[in-house]
Symmetry: C2
Subunit: 262 residues, 2 copies
């Protein structure tokens, strides 16, 4: 009896030629049939952007040398890639798992909102597909992913085996290889944090001013159940993320308002 291999869709936001997606594709190839639809250029910080006033390109890609990898590169955002994969590339082939990453840089805490990597995973969750975004806390383009690939595989296998609650995508962040051996995995909540922005003003050769954004991450959360705590203590953090933004606890308070134009 042969069991069908699970179908795994892979995307990211650093672009199809990044080291992170290569590491993820090779790891997923060990446990499933892999189809890649990823941006043809870096899309970091794109949040949940989609392409609505413009056209999209989709081309076959030769980014992966491993045999048996079906790969496409797309001119759009990570969310576009998942939409195109679901509704055009795969059509009636329903993926068993959607993975995004491995991102070069952390997407923990508040960064989940700005993250293209997580928007691909959230987009998959909206489609009712089990989805995981993986990020390494190392922004280097030459980052070493070898210390975490066994964990990446085990987390993917866990989701393939157990499934995920519906409308939830996992935000998985992994300590950098330079932090020493990984201690294990923690299920966490998103730490409360923000960026304090510093805008550096410069003048271009034509005398016009321009700005570089230079944010500094500020962790405002002392809890030991957060993703920041896990990462700062050598653990991989897993935050289950939903996409219902309603702040339910505030509904009774707001319901006392009386707004009219009379």
């Amino acid at each position: 009896m042969t069991k069908r291999k699970p179908l795994i869709l892979v995307s990211n936001d650093d672009g199809i030629t990044s080291r992170g997606i290569r590491a993820l594709v090779e790891t997923m190839h060990q446990i499933g049939e892999v189809v890649v639809v990823a941006p043809n250029s870096p899309q970091s910080g794109m949040g949940h952007a989609i392409t609505i006033g413009n056209t999209l390109r989709l081309d076959s890609s030769i980014a992966f040398e491993t045999e048996g990898i079906e790969a496409y590169e797309c001119s759009g955002t990570p969310a576009d890639c998942v939409k195109l994969a679901k509704h055009h590339v795969l059509k009636n082939r329903r993926p068993d798992l959607v993975v995004s990453g491995i991102n070069h840089g952390s997407n923990s805490s508040i960064s989940v909102l700005y993250s293209g990597t997580m928007s691909a995973a959230i987009e998959a969750a909206i489609e009712g597909l089990p989805a995981i975004g993986f990020s390494l806390c190392d922004y280097s383009l030459t980052a070493d992913f070898s210390h975490c690939l066994e964990y990446v595989k085990q987390i993917a296998l866990q989701v393939l085996t157990s499934g995920l609650p519906s409308h939830v995508a996992l935000n998985v962040n992994i300590p950098s290889q330079t932090e020493g051996p990984i201690k294990g995995v923690k299920i966490c909540r998103q730490a409360q944090a923000k960026y304090t922005e510093n805008f550096e003003k410069r003048t271009d050769p034509h005398g016009r001013p321009y700005f570089w954004m230079n944010g500094e991450f500020v962790d405002l959360d002392k809890g030991e159940d957060t993703d920041m705590w896990a990462l700062n203590n050598g653990y991989i953090s897993i935050v289950p993320c939903g996409f219902d933004m309603t702040a339910y606890h505030t509904l009774p308070h707001l319901n006392q308002w009386e707004i009219s134009t009379n």
Copy 2:
């Protein structure tokens, strides 16, 4: 005794020359001191994108003819605009209210995730500022906003008077003028919905294929407490939106997992 007028920061995602932001600026000018920092080009569907690998421009704008409006146009996304306003333009002047819109088109239900209008409001909420995103359920560039401006003013005054729970931004959606008189205001939760995408494939003059995304909104929610229900029944919907994406109800389930590499 003179009381200082409230300081109101205005942004949007349709760009600083849109009719929607003009209607909003004129309405806010009646109740406060207005500073505008808005994109210099349309940014619809940009989600919570920010500009991190590129420079930003910020120029004084003459988009508003009303006297006493301080206005700047920015090359970045709506979230960039709020960050630049907070940390560069306003610096030590803390806004009493941040408003975004009025968007040409609905940002109800799942659209909140893709919305540049709401990302400006959410960015303000992250900064601890009371914030409201306004959207009109009419995509026309020549949409008529006159039927809703008194409501827009009353909602803004309510927030200026009562404040908002911390880390919450209001997602306000308004029925189109063509739907008849507005019946009132409902505090709602975000309806569960999704887009079913249809990608139309065309061929360019050079023989290469390209795609247009053409999403169809699918309301999956039968509740009468949702923003979709309110809008479909002639009411303005107000959803309080947070930015903690943690799906808390799934934590106990996921905590039963045992993931290790041994």
